[in-house]
Symmetry: none
């Protein structure tokens, strides 16, 4: 019996309310340049402090595996309790979600770059001189208006930033992954997309579709210097992921502002609650929807943004803004409340990292680790230890008394 089977066997449907508040990229590292404090330690957080003193368990979470830096996809899948090595979400799918495109099980998505081809069809610039976003939008509009379908398969094309766009194939019997058409260096022709699993009839069908898509699209770009071609990467289907509601016996909803996080929540079957723009509005909406769902995923982007910018003060401010809004949520405290990140985004690194993110869990039976504050250093001494993020919801369920005892 593996762990998932064990949890499924012991699961008891229980009326319970839970909130998972994700401060994206929350985790950080202390460096001498910043007074040896992390942003969470440097921030003034009276409301978080009060919550901690009321009794919380703390710990740190390894998002994927020791030393592995996750993207937003694996980071969130792990938070949602799905092993990110078992449920891989292709880059095409993530990119599509980030552009707000809806994907259904079986759809195949690819990310694409406009590129420059010479007269012989060799790639001379893999990014077409990083054309302006407006030109990209114009070219995607041309492709979209002329290519609605390839055979029986509907096609959606949507522009991203600069030379980037996304193509989605809505069909049946399709499957990724395929190899990239990007030759990865200049001076070579566009590669053909090949099945990764040569025995898969669905992948073969998909490879043919990509080839046919090129045949339809390239003539439409002829002469449009510098973007007279395109390269496709990360051609993958949306994996069939067990639905959150079935797996955890809770009705889940996502209150996120950015499309990618709405999309990731939708991948596991969460309802999307649209509208709120600020964390205060998100918490207000949580209260308004309290009776309609059992599990709320509330996503806050600005900690990550500040970390990516290497802006320590902005990250401190983002945490303080969150703290100022926290009382709105606490007016209708869920039975089980978790505050954490999906990964660390240390300011000193200006990007995601592998450092385990701190996590705080509060419930009537979480116990108290008797820490004064919520911080990376404090969490190191917490009762949750350092654990794999994929177990977080299981711990929340335990605190919600959703598991029978194992054995007599």
């Amino acid at each position: 019996m593996n762990h998932d089977e064990l949890y499924a066997k012991l699961l008891v449907k229980t009326p319970v309310k839970m909130a998972l508040v994700v401060l994206d990229g929350l985790g950080d590292i202390a460096t001498p340049a910043q007074g040896n404090l992390t942003p969470l330690e440097a921030a003034t957080t009276p409301n978080l402090d009060r919550l901690v003193k009321n009794g919380c368990a703390q710990g740190r979470m390894t998002p994927v595996a020791p030393g592995i830096t996750p993207g937003s996809g694996p980071g969130h899948l792990a938070l949602f309790g799905y092993d990110p090595l078992e449920f891989e979400v292709g880059r095409g799918v993530i990119e599509a979600l980030g552009l707000g495109l809806e994907l259904n099980a079986g759809d195949v998505a690819a990310r694409a770059n406009f590129c420059t081809l010479d007269a012989k069809g060799l790639v001379t610039d893999r990014r077409a001189g990083r054309i302006a976003t407006e030109i990209c939008e114009e070219l995607c509009a041309v492709l979209s208006s002329k290519i609605k379908k390839i055979g029986n398969t509907e096609v959606t094309i949507k522009a991203g930033k600069e030379h980037r766009f996304v193509v989605i194939f809505h069909g049946k019997g399709l499957e990724g992954p395929l190899t990239d058409t990007d030759p990865n260096r200049e001076g070579l022709p566009i590669a053909s997309a090949k099945p990764v699993n040569a025995k898969s009839a669905k992948q073969k069908k998909m490879a043919k579709l990509i080839s046919d898509f090129y045949k339809a699209a390239l003539p439409l770009l002829k002469g449009r210097q510098p973007a007279n071609g395109f390269l496709m990467r990360g051609v993958a289907h949306q994996p069939a992921i067990p639905l959150f509601a079935d797996r955890y016996a809770m009705r889940p909803a996502a209150i996120a502002v950015y499309p990618m996080y709405k999309g990731l929540a939708q991948l596991v079957g969460m309802a999307k609650i649209e509208g709120p723009q600020t964390i205060a509005e998100q918490f207000e909406r949580y209260r308004a929807e309290y009776d309609n769902y059992d599990f709320f995923f509330i996503h806050y982007k600005y900690t990550d943004k500040a970390g990516e910018d290497g802006n320590f003060d902005a990250k401190v401010k983002a945490i303080q803004d969150f703290d100022a809004a926290l009382p709105i949520l606490l007016k209708k405290k869920p039975d089980v409340l978790v505050i954490t990140g999906d990964h660390s985004t240390p300011c000193a690194m200006r990007g995601h990292s592998w450092h385990p993110q701190p996590v705080l869990l509060h419930s009537a039976v979480s116990g108290s680790d008797k820490l004064e504050r919520f911080s990376e250093t404090g969490a190191n001494q917490g009762s949750l230890g350092v654990f794999e993020a994929k177990y977080l919801i299981r711990l929340m369920q335990a605190n919600g008394k959703m598991f029978d005892k194992f054995g007599a």
Copy 2:
């Protein structure tokens, strides 16, 4: 090579004495209602304190998996170093052990309830009105005297409390698990026990035995209102568990008071040392038997009992009673000493829980975590971290210098 193979490969038979002292249900949580202290923190434990200051490693153990609350069976199997998901012990077996019945590898045990049947054979009360224990004993005596064997298979029947009893089938070629004969609600007939694995010839044979047992037993209960029938649950065989002595190269003995813990120790082949009733007597006996065994499992029940009763003061007292007796053991200090629980039983929850239990390990090479006391909060900062209970004996063996270096 998996971990078990690694340990087996590196194992070196070494003369060593070890004691694993289990304070059942020791772990607890700090709540405001109890001054934000756990019982272990509230207790006055001068002898434990002295041991800690002499140099101990501390940590916390996950009994089975994050969020999983174990029964005594899985809790102890994990402590004995057997993965409780690999070696599942059926409820019938645990119940039988709890009644002090001896089980051998291959025996199949079932727990049973007397029930009430109407004229049509439909269950009208699944617990026969919770008949008095004396009536249960009387009925079991009737069944026992008339049913010694079913075919070639010896049968043992023993009364438990109220309507509960246990049936053991001593035979060869038998195997569980079978489905329950309990229809789980009134108004239905007794179900027939079916093989869980339809392809198992041994399970089929066992199902036939249960059916024949019913044919022999039901007529003996005819007219004995309200207990004129019975339902069987958790029909399972004693799993074949690798012997402790072979696995760890130590002669093990159990000094336990309650039958279930003697039984669990016997499952892995520990010798049972009978007689002692108090923890002081148990420690005296440990000293008397010191030369006869290498590994002593010493089980103390009263911490769990107090936790189950939600009696904080009683749990504090149980810990203090243990502490008062501890010097008896320390007069003949084993080379490796561990003090821990099999799981947590927080007073605030009045039952077992998933919270990792604290563990203390003392040896000449355990190092010192420089903590002042043994407690949940202290253990959070210990050098052992939070780890799976099944690795505990391996750590004890390492401290006993029982493993060669792995690789050059």
